[in-house]
Amino acid sequence: MRRRPAVSRIVIHAALFLLLAIWMIPEVYMLSIGLRTPAQAFDATLFVWPLTFDNFVTVIRDNPLTSFFLNSLIVTLSTVALVVAFSSLFAFACAVLNLRGSLTLYATLLTTLMVPLASLVLPLAILLKTFGWVNTYAGLIFPYAALGVPFAVVVLKAFMEDSPKELFEAARVDGCNAWQTYWHVALPLVRPALVFVGIWQFITTWNEFFLALIILTRDEVKTLTIVPMQYSGLYMANPGALFAVLTLIALPLILLYVVVQRAFVRGLLAGAVKG
């Protein structure tokens, strides 16, 4: 590949740094407010001095954060597992097995992507109450999984359709049944897409607030995203604590992204160019 001239590279890097800075402002501001004293909380400046960890201490002292964190983790990981399992099976049925009626089902599934969550909350709440799933992990896991599967199916089906058909035929000749073809051939082939779908679902589930707020009222099952509500009300606000807890919620996602960013980007780009 031809190397760009030095000046051009400097301009491109400067533009990228500028974009990065603009993107980072909300995150830096969130951390900055979390590290302020109550008196400085509403200062318009981005950076203040001195810094204090009091807000973090308050949040940790006031809440069983470990329990909330574990609840979030259980709900998120279970949802990710369900979404990856069901969407990959569905995509395999559509893209590889070409099962009769699978495309009709796929088209029906796509229509659910167009329904806003807000319009589903009331029927969902009634349904979950009927099932006795209010204040349970299942009350979040299954709705989250159901809402996450359509997007994941779109991604995985596209990946499987792009995979060489001969590999699936070779598996048939080698004696694989449908399940073995799925497990030994299809899943490894779409691994970058699985990572992408898994991370995407992890982020959306971890950050979900609306349904969690409605379904969970008991502390034993509450997830992390409900905690900030305590520090923001009509007649009361503690912005320092609010942003401290928001920072704590975002931390696992940032760490996760740092660890798997290569796989995530590969999943986004795979199939974009001919291999």
């Binding site: 001969e166 590999l167 070779a170 598996a171 048939r172 004696g175």
Partner: protein
């Protein structure tokens, strides 16, 4: 080793008939090549035999057993794909042993068979490599190794050399011939390359538009093509064709007049030709220089192109608006483009085809 029989097998996609009903029997241990131009249905026929494509009608029999609706492993077939179809996430050893692993064979047996296949195909040093780390020829050998470890009754090879460059293809052709001798297996080989078919096969099935044009041993097809299509497909360079008209018949000889002028006598099988307009065919290697010889069966023309291939020389000669290709086992240093030449068609080498 097994015998394969196709009984009135046909294939249609909707209203489009790809393969009209055809019968074909391939004997125990035979190496049979299905050849024909792209789109003639040979790969589809192979996929029907493999069980990857359902036949629209007819039966597929292996050793007399009807396997028409059976899955590929139940038919006892193994297949080498044109694109190799190696599993990219498995190393060479895992690729070769995958079929055995799926068949739940013991780990020790898998190891032994993988080692044996690797030894046979000179892959010993590559067993831990991933497919992306292999050359085209090595990948093809792995694909063959994967097929042979399962001890199939019938090997199916779908244009296995078409993705290789010319030099590698020649080498792999020899490897397949050697492998065939050591395996002693029934093999069905699909190719559009008549050289591969001629050099490897015991019997060639020439296909065109889903139909079988002719079945026979390679040299039989070369010497006695049933029709113009087979005559043109088998042999390289292709046979020369000229429009002609039957002027008479006597003592097993057919007297023809070429459309561009000139009388030609043919002493080949002419009983199938009734008369009227016909096509005269002669192979480039059978065309002779006509100077100083008897006056019969001669045509004159102008040399257009001289191709010196080393061992042979090809002359492209314009004969009354038709191009005649002549092959001579000499360098013909004294012949140049633009020169007039007289060529002779030996009567024994003149094929005559209807229409």
């Amino acid at each position: 080793m097994s015998k394969l029989a196709l009984d009135a097998v046909s294939k249609s996609f909707g209203a489009l008939e790809i393969i009209p009903p055809l019968d074909l029997t391939i004997e125990h241990g035979e190496f049979c090549a299905l050849v024909g131009p792209s789109g003639c249905g040979k790969s589809t026929l192979l996929r029907i035999i493999a069980g990857l494509e359902p036949a629209t009608s007819g039966r597929v029999l292996v050793d007399g057993e009807d396997v028409t609706g059976a899955e590929p492993p139940e038919r006892g077939v193994a297949m080498v794909f044109q694109s190799y179809a190696l599993y990219p996430h498995m190393n060479v050893a895992s690729n070769i042993g995958f079929g055995l692993k799926i068949a739940r064979r013991a780990a020790e047996e898998i190891r032994q068979k993988v080692d044996a296949a690797a030894d046979k195909l000179r892959l010993d040093a590559l067993l831990s490599r991933m497919p992306r780390e292999l050359s085209g020829g090595q990948r093809q050998r792995v694909a063959i190794g994967r097929a042979i470890t399962r001890d199939p009754r019938i090997f199916l090879l779908d244009e296995p050399l078409s993705n290789l460059d010319a030099a590698l293809r020649g080498g792999m052709r020899v490897e397949i011939a050697r492998l065939r001798q050591s395996l002693d297996a029934t093999m069905i080989y699909v190719t559009h390359d008549q050289v591969e078919a001629m050099t490897l096969a015991d019997r060639i099935v020439v296909m065109n538009k889903g139909r079988i044009e002719q079945i026979g041993a390679p040299m039989d097809l070369y010497h006695n093509p049933a029709n113009r299509f087979v005559a043109g497909f088998i042999g390289s360079p292709s046979m020369n064709f000229f429009d002609a008209e039957v002027r008479g018949r006597a003592n097993g000889e057919l007297l023809l007049r070429l459309a561009g002028g000139g009388d030609i006598v043919s002493r080949r099988a002419v009983t199938s030709v009734a008369g009227g307009r016909v096509t005269l065919g002669i192979r480039p290697e059978h065309v002779e220089f006509g100077d100083g010889m008897a006056a019969d069966n001669r045509v004159t023309g102008t040399v257009q192109v001289v191709e010196r291939l080393g061992c042979d020389t090809l002359l492209h000669i314009d004969v009354a608006g038709n191009t005649l290709v002549m092959r001579q086992p000499r360098d013909l240093a004294d012949i140049h483009a633009g020169e007039p030449v007289t060529c002779r068609f030996p009567a024994e080498a003149c094929h005559v085809f209807a229409g």
